[in-house]
């Protein structure tokens, strides 16, 4: 395993600049030590590359040729109006929001009134207080471990969200990561979400860019999520209009007994995206539903990689991902479901479907079931298909022009996944985002 490999320029720069950047990052002595240890782990592993099985479709050594300067503070004059515009349809949702610009919390742009029962603290504050928890996190996938280490070394800020036991909140809490300014940077954020017993909340992580800012950049984002007993979390992620940014997100989720975790990830208009999620069943009778939509065109590359770990009995998991791929876009879906020997009565189902709008688009799907228990029900499926010509004719025979007919069929295809978003305002905003995307490109190519 420890074959000496040549380090790429980006890897060397990322490891070497740590000394000069570390001073500017938040954190006392313990945190500084944890960061130094993390950069050591990163230097040993390097960026994930295609010889790591989990990364064979997304070779970051090839993608991240250059190391961008690490964002340590926000120097832009971003206004609330900029943030609202950047958020598109979601910007019109009146909900508590925690805003970060270029990886730094911006109190002046945030508004947490209405988030009763929820404490949101900037991670930078926690780090400054010497709270280094989580910075030593690793993953079974060594590629993800390397990215987690890079994240721990350079993290500038994030949201630490604590939901009190029994809290019920209808409004979604929006954590908005905004990219702004003219300088391409590596922005490193980390969120910690702890949902107390019996609480029910919706938390949405929104990644957007202020129009007119640089179209380049890198994002390394991590979220650690813990659901207490009987807790219910709807965890939404939206990444849109990010130009040619390389967007790396890693969610690590632990489900307590009888909890319900519903994740939905929406990704469009990004250079390269890797959305990785590991969910581990810690308590029995928990339910997991992970779904999402990815929309790619030109040479965009969108990778969704899931690990669902049924470690205890009586767990239920559902995954549904829908992709629309145009131009030379590439979609990747890797879904691994592990059912450990003890996890009897597990019920797991997975489906990944792509709609191919061009002959040059590509969809790679790799479902994997690793089952060590005998009394389980598990299934998976995957399809890649073109728009149905007979249906298109039917719609057109009713007077609906080609563009509109295509858009209608594409919307209905992804609509099934978007329907999984329980929060009405978010669901409608996402449908609108998808319609805008379709109007801007997909519907027009034949």
């Amino acid at each position: 395993m420890n074959v000496a490999v040549m380090k790429t320029k980006a890897e060397m720069t990322l490891a070497e600049t740590f000394g000069s950047v570390a001073e500017a990052l938040p954190g006392g002595a313990e945190v500084k030590a944890a960061r130094a240890a993390a950069i050591g782990r990163f230097a040993a592993g390097g960026l994930p590359h295609r010889r790591i099985e989990e990364w064979k479709y997304t070779d970051l050594r090839g993608v991240m040729k250059d190391a961008l300067p690490v964002a340590v503070g926000d120097e832009t004059k971003t206004t609330i109006a900029d943030v609202i515009v950047a958020m598109g349809a979601i910007g019109r949702i009146d909900a508590p929001r925690f805003v970060l610009v270029n990886g730094r919390y911006r109190k002046d742009l945030s508004n947490l009134s209405g988030a009763s029962g929820i404490t949101v603290t900037p991670l930078s504050e926690k780090l400054a207080e010497g709270d280094a928890s989580g910075l030593d996190a690793t993953d079974e996938d060594r590629g993800a471990s390397a990215l987690l280490a890079l994240n721990a070394a350079y993290v500038s800020d994030g949201a630490v969200i604590e939901v009190k036991d029994g809290t019920k909140l209808d409004l979604p809490l929006l954590v908005v990561h905004v990219r702004a300014g003219a300088v391409p940077q590596l922005s490193v954020g980390r969120n910690r979400i702890v949902v107390g017993k019996g609480a029910t909340v919706t938390i949405a992580e929104i990644f957007v860019a202020v129009p007119g800012s640089t179209v380049d950049g890198q994002v390394n984002s991590a979220s650690e999520v813990q659901l207490g007993e009987g807790a219910s979390l709807s965890h939404i992620k939206v990444a849109t209009d990010l130009g040619s940014v390389t967007h790396l997100a890693n969610w690590l989720v632990e489900l307590g007994g009888e909890s319900s975790y519903r994740a939905f990830q929406y990704t469009s208009s990004v250079g390269v995206a890797r959305n990785q999620l590991r969910a581990t069943f810690k308590g029995e009778h928990a339910k997991l539903d992970i779904s999402g939509v990815f929309l790619g065109r030109k040479s965009e590359h969108i990778d969704t990689t899931l690990f669902v770990d049924h470690a205890v009995p009586h767990g239920e998991s559902r995954e549904l991902f829908k992709g629309v791929l145009d131009g030379e876009a590439r979609g990747i879906f890797q879904g691994k479901v592990i059912v450990r020997p003890d996890a009897q009565k597990t019920d797991g189902k997975q489906m990944a479907q792509a709609l191919m709008l061009s002959e040059t688009a590509e969809f790679d799907s790799k479902p994997e079931l690793e089952i060590y228990a005998d009394d389980v029900v598990c299934g998976h499926g995957s399809t890649a298909a073109e728009l149905d010509h007979d249906l298109l004719f039917y719609l057109r025979a009713r007077g609906i022009p080609l563009d509109q007919a295509r858009a209608l069929l594409i919307q209905s295809f992804i609509g099934e996944a978007i329907a999984k978003v329980d929060n009405t305002a978010l669901r409608e905003a996402l449908m609108e985002e998808a319609e805008t995307w379709l109007a801007s490109s997909a519907a027009k190519s034949v």
Binding site: F393, L395, A397, G399, L408, S412, F413, G415
Partner: protein, 251 residues
């Protein structure tokens, strides 16, 4: 007026001709029936009228109101008033019936230079037409035709026709799969659309439909050609004699 002149059609990418020189004229205000054996090319003719791309017209022409429609896309033809009620209506998962009807109605209205329907205006119209066809509006909230019975699908086609107000109605075996009451309801719906401004082409296997929708003319389409034309009594003759004589002709 619909004028079909020496129409030759084959499946794109294949050699065999399906329609081998159809000549047919349907003046405005008239209803013509087409009958003929299975596989004789009736649906092919209907699809070619609507503009389906899987077929290739190798010779001849189709004129609607004096204008050739062969080069027009299906949606342009729909805007010009052409409507095909499908023999096998398709299911469209994920698209609600009401959305579909409204999108279609407004698309043709826009192209015809008419004002688009407002939400209340559309709802009023659709409720009225659905009631006439004995269709529950609740059903239209579901995806188009998904889970509908065969008869429900046929009624849904006629509702679409009523909403789009076409001037050339082509009905491909709309009667098959309908129960006795539904046959009457659908026929009433079709008869309600009969007007001096509309031409209708009704494809059917059964004389019974023609008791409800009384045609001005009946044509026999067999082996890719119109083999015989006559008045409504031709349907009764066919009921007795079948299509044996046309088979001989073709040989």
């Amino acid at each position: 007026m619909l004028e079909i002149k020496n129409l030759h059609v084959k499946i794109a990418d294949e050699d065999a001709e399906i329609l081998k020189g159809i000549d047919l004229v349907v003046p405005k205000g008239e209803v013509h029936a087409i009958m003929g054996p299975n596989g004789s090319g009736k649906s092919t003719l209907a699809y070619v009228l609507a503009g389906r791309e899987d077929y290739e017209v190798t010779d001849g022409d189709i004129l609607w109101n004096g204008e050739s429609i062969l080069e027009m896309a299906p949606d342009e033809r729909a805007a010009k008033g052409v409507f095909l009620a499908f023999q096998y209506p398709m299911e469209i998962p994920g698209v609600a019936g009401l959305t579909f009807l409204r999108t279609a109605a407004n698309a043709v209205r826009k192209k015809r230079g008419q004002e688009e329907l407002t939400t209340p205006g559309f709802m009023k119209l659709v409720k009225e037409k659905a009631a006439e066809l004995n269709i529950d509006v609740e059903m239209l909230k579901r995806p188009v035709n998904v889970g509908f019975s065969g008869g429900e699908k046929k009624r849904s086609e006629i509702l679409q026709m009523a909403m789009l107000e076409p001037s050339l109605c082509v009905l491909d075996e709309t009667d098959s799969g309908l129960d006795i009451d539904a046959l009457r309801i659908v026929s009433d719906g079709v008869n309600a659309l009969r007007s001096p401004e509309r031409a209708m082409l009704v494809i059917t296997h059964y004389q019974r439909l023609l008791n409800h929708i009384v045609p001005d003319k009946v044509h026999v389409l067999a082996y890719g050609k119109i083999r015989k034309s006559g008045g409504k009594e031709l349907a009764l003759e066919l009921e007795k004699s079948g299509y044996a004589e046309f088979q001989k002709d073709a040989a």
